[in-house]
């Protein structure tokens, strides 16, 4: 299963590379491009950026789905092993070798597993990856606002610096009404503590609403990838607010 995931990852990286190569025209031959050429280059660059980030988001979503499927498969396999008929009563049964290509799930509790509702109804929690993609789409469609973006970028960078003790900050960018901060934490607890304490600091925190989402599979131990959206005052970052403001 892991080799399939690796193969899928390699294929996705290759896809991104091909798209990037296709869209990249190579160095300009003219040593001093005109204003029109500059504008055209900027548009191409923005399109390329959107393509690459969209591909990355797609990869992340696909990886998330694949990991969920693997998790489900492992649980089913573990249940199957647990329900297998044993020997006669009183006789010890020989330990069973797991079937080839079946990985027995790691039962060490690292993060809470998806609970069922008290009534047994299916949970209707919002999917962090889907919400993150919706906001990504809105974010990359925005241009910048000279009145707001520079100050917001300064605050977001200061915030990223405050988080950098416990996180690897991979990208900070602000547009017209949102800032986007990509980060990797050592685990889920570190994500929760670092994000909230940095964003809510009365002196250096973010002066507006925010939403932070874990975009990697939280059921697997190890590093946690997260995206934090810092919004201009008055922006509604709830799922309904996102849907109506950024249709």
């Amino acid at each position: 299963m892991k080799s399939r995931l690796l193969l899928f990852g390699c294929a996705a990286v290759a896809l991104v590379s091909v798209v990037s190569w296709t869209l990249y025209d190579g160095p300009e031959s003219s040593p001093d491009p005109s204003g029109d050429q500059m504008a055209s280059m900027q548009k191409k660059l923005q399109r390329l950026e959107r393509e690459v980030l969209s591909s990355a988001a797609y990869m992340r979503h696909a990886q998330h789905a694949a990991l969920q499927a693997q998790h489900h498969y492992e649980e089913r396999a573990a249940e199957h092993v647990g329900n297998a008929p044993g020997g006669a009563p009183g006789q010890p049964t020989a330990p069973q070798e797991p079937a080839e290509d079946v990985e027995v799930a790691d039962t060490t509790p690292t993060t809470p597993t998806t609970p069922t509702t008290p009534q047994g109804a299916p949970p209707d929690d919002p999917d962090p990856v889907v919400l993150s993609e919706q906001l990504d789409s809105a974010f990359f469609d925005e241009s910048s606002d000279p009145q707001w973006t520079p100050g917001a970028t300064e605050t977001a960078e200061r915030l990223a610096l405050a988080m950098s003790d416990n996180a690897d900050i991979t990208n900070v960018e602000c547009r017209a009404s949102l800032c986007r901060l990509e980060s990797t934490f050592s685990d889920l607890k570190s994500f929760q503590e670092s994000t909230v304490s940095a964003v809510t600091d009365p002196d250096t925190g973010w002066p507006g609403p925010y939403m932070a989402a874990v975009v990697s599979d939280p059921h697997h131990a190890g590093a946690v990838e997260a995206v934090t959206y810092l919004a201009r005052e008055g922006v509604d970052l709830s799922p309904d607010g996102i849907a109506s403001a950024y249709p």
Partner: protein
């Protein structure tokens, strides 16, 4: 004739009363909780907070964190209002509101902590931006300076 009119009037009054009893609670689901429902963020700070009429005062010599769970009946955007008191700037109270999904992988918050707008009387600290998804939860956290007091936390349930 008179009896019939009286009977109709009684029915009308009864209907109005029942309508009010059913509709008013359904439309206005604001909820207020005393600060005593919360607890110190750090166990070591539990002894710093004392109760007075179910309000909570920090009696230690430095700022301490105090967190109050918000008992939520239904998901949605929450406007949270903490009522707090500080005699002066050195007794300030600064708060934030946070909504989380039950898997703790999505967080919505009000941003940088907001402090008391003035001192010498109980004031409101109103926060927006906390969203609670279905089956999620919410809480308000306050940084309470020495002598600062948290009275209540109110929100749309």
């Amino acid at each position: 004739m008179n009896d019939s009119r009286k009977s109709n009037r009684r029915r009308l009054v009864l209907s109005m009363f029942l309508l009010g009893a059913v509709i008013v609670p359904a439309t206005s689901s604001a909820r207020t909780q005393p600060a005593s429902l919360g607890r110190a963020v750090s166990n070591a700070d539990t002894g710093c907070f004392s109760l007075w009429y179910s309000t909570v005062t920090n009696n230690c010599g430095s700022t301490r964190g105090f967190e109050m769970p918000l008992v939520i009946d239904s998901g949605g955007n929450k406007t949270v209002s903490v009522t707090a008191y500080g005699a002066g700037p050195s007794n300030n109270v600064c708060c934030t509101a946070t909504g989380v999904n039950r898997e703790t992988t999505l967080v919505w918050g009000s941003g940088a902590a907001q402090c008391l707008p003035s001192f010498g009387s109980s004031q409101f600290i109103t926060m927006t931006g906390a969203h609670v998804p279905g089956w999620g939860y919410a809480y308000a956290t306050c940084q309470v300076s020495p002598g600062g007091r948290v009275n209540t936390v109110g929100f749309n349930g």
